[in-house]
Symmetry: C2
């Protein structure tokens, strides 16, 4: 029925006033109907995005830069179309680009979702007319792909339909972020528009009070089999124990925030975090970004108009301002006032028992179902709380991070991963213009803490000073550390078994009678052998000279996971994650390990009494291996074992040649490292056996170090 | 019968005057008899060596250094005993050393056979008495080993008996070299000795004349299955075409050489090679080393006495002096006078139809069968020539080199290999004190050209100026070049097939219809792919940017072989050799290859008209790969193919990031090198296929680079 692109287009124009849509369900029985639903959702999104630009009265406005940290609007106008082309080309769903030069300009911009360093290059932007014509062509291409693509239900991440949804939801993100940029554009360039009618009600704000919220277990994440499109960061699941707390009944209103402003909040640096003070110093801000102060009177800039400061609307600030306000409020009240965490917000959100796309009416000023602006903070109530979702986004204390099991989508591998850096905080709940995926309960978006969006906050009162926020599992990128993380926790290559695991399994098989009280993993690197030893030994000390290696073992022990990006080809990387659970390590086991930084040549006295000392690839990296071998017995129990592995790669960078154990001519004859080990250890140790253990260290997708270590086993003589 | 060491020792004393022995045959029927023959040969050698020191009248003499480039005699006295211990320990035929400290001092010295840089360290030498006691203990140990070792016939290189023979023959070498040092010791420390009776005859020298020697094919080398012990450098075989020449009837006598001295030969630098002039300048020599000029009269120092210059004895000089003499003689006569090559000497030697151990009487002043000194040059005649073997060693023009198939013995891997450096010249024929292996026809010894031994020379007259000496196959030691030689010509590791061969075989299988007139191997490195291509293509150009790589391909083409030492562990190396013949390449094939140094970015115009251009692991090492790919078609025939392989290891050291073909983000998206190849080549080439080809580059015995290259095949569009 809804045949050609032309017909669809016509229908969309008719329906232009229909701002509201729901993100499609992935499942269903009827493929044809789903195909048309996708087509409808695509065109509605595409048209709605174009409609956002309709209030602009002059093409000139597309080329100025109202927000210096952003490209001009022309980029965003073209960008959402180019995104479809890029992902379809990357997925090999279309063969050719439309316009290499335009697509190059519209491809990377300043994607608020992932980074915010502005490229200062001069762009030779195309005209609005050219860009509009380009958008038109892309609309036709995407429509054709929707018509011709294979489709089975449910839609899975490997289908072209997923890429279509990705493009649509990406455009819906830009619907919101472009609206923020337009909100910064001079009103001289804008006219009112029937589609973008703001709320026209305002009054004094209600008095905000703190209401109790019961604690409990909160499960975050949409799980792995959700029924709607989701971004990579939403998948997986994480259960968090939330203490009881109090939360403010309302979002903080302009009026409530005004008290902070008038109390000199922007001038009192003690209220600001270090980052906040630095931002304040740089911007010289003294009132919220969308406020205007003229002749002693406050106004607020909205999308297409400026009005007297609506006192009962939510204030819109960045995280740093919200955080300073909380500090001030805490000072005023003597209480632990702060922003909620993601989990605390979810505890509130769980009071609402519906979600888009299932609702009939949005439970808040959300999904463009009510206003094209904020509205008073006392309009949408649930259990005595208002605006649990909608109106403006709500900043949280939580830096964004993936849930356990996080995986990137191969066609958009930098959507989230670069934001797992501890510098991007989550906000929740959506704003009046959050639609599609953005309007879902499990949607998660994060920005740098100084960024402005349609975002404000609710504060809570906690029972303790400490903010229950875990450190972010940032992606390790240090080349050497990453090689070792992959070496210890990553994939096998060339059929060679995981080396730390193989070493421990081999040595335990060779030493069945070993006492299993206490082991030392000396030169533990990122720690895999220690986790393996902790399956058998009651206590494992894991020591390495390098803190940058150890911290990953320690982090795995603390958080259960570790993330790293491994080079594939040139500058390209793949994002990897490991978790102890997936590797089969128990909580009980990991707690037997004690990570510590230390020097094999100079260990503290408490590191002794071992039944096993395992030195994996250590001895050829010591500066005085002979001294170490001559002293190590003093840390060992009677009848205990020393196990050494090494490929004997002696290098003067690490060990003066005069200190090499072997691999040298001694009195003119070849003298191997094993000869040297025997010579050095034979007085105190009985040599049991030497055998080969291969290992592979990945450098890139196509380049590996493939080595064969020699393991030697030694029993301490009585 | 000859039971205990004591009995044997007693017997040896009785037989002390028996200086003569023969090196044992390796084969035989009776194991017990062979064991006793070995025991006898050992004790005879050991006692004979000790007897060499008997003329010394004062222990003091053991600790002075008559030859500053050598250790004092005490070292040599202990060294030959320690050598037995070292090799038996290394071969694990005995478990423990006798005396670690003595053996450390006696182990490496200044082994004239392999190097001659003097260690200037101060040694705390043991006393003669201590050393003699040590020698005595070693004699007992070796005797025990001979009694208890397993023995089968024939004796092969992997048997302990081989190590016993190695120690014996080593001691026989030092019998000679120590006699040279004693010859430099002041006569104050020496007394006559019945065992070391010199020749007492001398007179005017006979007039030397040049006699014709017919040319022909000469086969050098003892082959692989000789019946006596041989050093590594004697094995294998090499056939050389020798032109007819004339050779001097006699060795050059003192009288003949005196004419050169008196003609101012030592003062006329034009007669000397560059090396000779440099030596002359350093030593200020004006007469032969063992001559003494006193009050205008010449004398000669022999082992234990000084006599009036015996005019008809052979002059003893180093190679540099012999060479200068020949230049002088050539000037005098206007003829091509020079030293013989090894092959030319062998052509003479072939006139004698016997060899030790088969002869009844030595065919020259050799094997201690006659004098403990030189004797007149006209004493031992064969076919009109005198002293073809014996009297003094005869310097040749040939720097020592292994024959094709050369392999080191694992227990003495540096006996010869370090002398294959172009700086050690062979001398032949043996001297009066050359015994055991030294007295054999196929023995080959070489020294630095400035060294003195009991050595002189015969000169020859050639028909052309050119000296028919091949460049030495020195052992390549450059780490990177060696890695590539092993990569191209060495062993397989981890079951991964030889990479250049696999590449060529794969591409030919994929391109069965290819025209096979002309191929280019661009980035040929050390050339294996070119030899492989030459099996199929009529003409192969092999080009690399690096001359140090290419020279090895070229050398293989020229000489058929290449040698290199690969690191095993630490500073230890293994000696490797490759030969085209062993690899199955024909003379016809290799002559189709033209090696040239060249830059892929700037090839000379003649490099064009190709049916195939193969670039193995090249593109990620070019500084501007795109430019290369955009130009390469101009060198290709219609319907020809371009084949690229690479692991795409882009590094800014080689290629500016802006020039990487891929492995980068392009417009925000991952852009692989294959994407980049397609983008760059698609206008002119049809993409056929891409497939993986693994390869392994060995770094040490336990460390390898294991990579997976992508091969892509492209057909030039018409």
């Amino acid at each position: 029925m809804p045949g050609s692109f032309k017909e669809i287009k016509y229908k969309m124009k008719e329906n232009m006033i229909v701002r509201v849509s729901k993100t499609p369900l992935l499942n269903g029985d009827a493929v044809d109907a789903k195909r048309e639903e996708l087509r409808q959702y695509f065109h509605q999104t595409y048209s709605l995005y174009e409609a956002l630009f309709e209030p602009i009265t002059s093409d000139e406005a597309y080329f100025i830069r109202p927000e210096p940290l952003r490209h001009p609007l022309i980029f965003y106008f073209g960008h959402t179309a180019t995104f479809f082309v890029n992902k379809l080309v990357l997925g090999k769903y279309i063969d050719e680009r439309l316009n290499r030069s335009l697509e190059s300009m519209f491809a990377i911009g300043v994607d608020e979702m992932s980074w915010d360093d502005l490229n200062q290059a001069n762009y030779d932007w195309p005209s609005v007319q050219t860009t509009r014509a380009y958008r038109h062509k892309v609309r036709g291409i995407v429509d054709e792909v929707i018509s011709s693509m294979p489709l089975t239900l449910p839609i899975t991440q490997d289908q072209p339909a997923w890429v279509i949804l990705m493009g649509i939801e990406h455009e819906r993100i830009h619907l919101e972020t472009s609206s923020v940029i337009i909100r910064m554009l001079s009103l001289d360039y804008l006219k009112p528009h029937p589609l973008w009618e703001p709320c026209r009600i305002s009054a004094a704000a209600p008095k905000n009070t703190l209401l109790p919220v019961a604690g409990g277990c909160v499960t975050l994440g949409r799980g792995d089999n959700a029924d709607t499109y989701g971004w990579d960061n939403e998948y997986g699941s994480k259960t968090v124990e939330v203490d009881s707390f109090h939360a403010s009944q309302y979002l903080v209103s302009n009026e409530e925030f005004l008290a902070f402003v008038e109390a000199g909040g922007y001038q009192q640096l003690r209220l600001w975090s270090e980052e906040g003070a630095s931002w304040l110093n740089y911007t010289k801000a003294s009132i919220p970004h969308f406020w205007v102060k003229r002749n002693g009177k406050y106004f607020q800039r909205n999308l297409l108009d400026e009005i007297e400061l609506p006192l009962n609307w939510p204030v819109e600030v960045n995280y740093l301002e919200a955080n300073a306000f909380c500090h001030w409020k805490a000072e005023q009240t003597g209480r632990f006032i702060r922003l909620p965490t993601e989990a605390e917000w979810m505890q509130l959100r769980n009071m609402i028992d519906t979600d888009q796309p299932y609702w009939d009416e949005a439970p808040g000023n959300l999904n463009l179902e009510y206003f094209a602006s904020s509205c008073p903070v006392d309009h949408f109530e649930t259990n005595g709380f208002y605006d649990i979702t909608g109106n403006v986004w709500q900043w949280t204390e939580s830096p964004i991070d993936g849930y356990p099991g996080f995986e990137v989508h191969p066609l958009y591998d930098d959507f989230s991963a670069p934001t797992f850096d501890g510098k991007h905080n989550i906000f929740t709940g959506g704003s009046w213009i959050s639609t599609g995926n953005e309007a879902l309960k499990f949607s998660r978006y994060a920005f740098r803490r100084h960024f402005f969006q349609h975002a404000g906050f609710r504060y809570i009162e906690a029972t303790t000073k400490e903010v229950p926020v875990e450190p972010v599992n940032t992606y390790e990128t240090d080349d050497l550390v990453v090689q070792y993380l992959e070496f210890h926790y990553g994939d096998s290559y060339f059929g060679v078994a995981n080396y730390p695991v193989a070493c421990i399994e081999t040595l335990l098989a060779k030493l069945p009678a070993i006492n299993t009280d206490k082991a030392l993993d000396l030169g533990c690197s990122v720690g895999r052998a220690s986790f393996e030893l902790a399956k058998t030994f009651s206590h494992v000390d894991a020591i390495d000279f390098s803190a940058r290696f150890i911290q990953h073992g320690h982090q795995l022990q603390e958080t259960g996971q570790s993330r790293f990006s491994i080079p594939t080809e040139g500058e390209l990387v793949a994002f990897k994650e490991t978790s102890l659970e997936q590797l089969g390590y128990t909580k009980e086991g990991k707690e037997r390990i004690h990570f510590a930084q230390g020097d094999a040549h100079n260990l503290k006295p408490q590191f002794s009494g071992y039944d096993l000392i395992f030195c994996g690839n250590l001895i050829d990296r010591l500066h005085d291996p002979k001294r170490f071998l001559n002293e190590v017995h003093s840390r060992m129990n009677s009848g205990s074992y020393l196990v050494l592995t090494s490929p004997y790669t002696w290098l003067e960078d690490y060990t003066d040649k005069s200190n090499w154990l072997g691999g040298v001519k001694v009195n003119g004859e070849n003298f191997s490292t094993l000869d040297g080990l025997k010579e050095t250890l034979s007085q105190r140790f009985e040599f049991i056996e030497a055998l080969d253990v291969p290992f592979v260290i990945r450098e890139t997708a196509r380049k590996f170090q493939h080595s064969v270590a020699q393991m030697s086993l030694w029993k301490l003589k009585d």
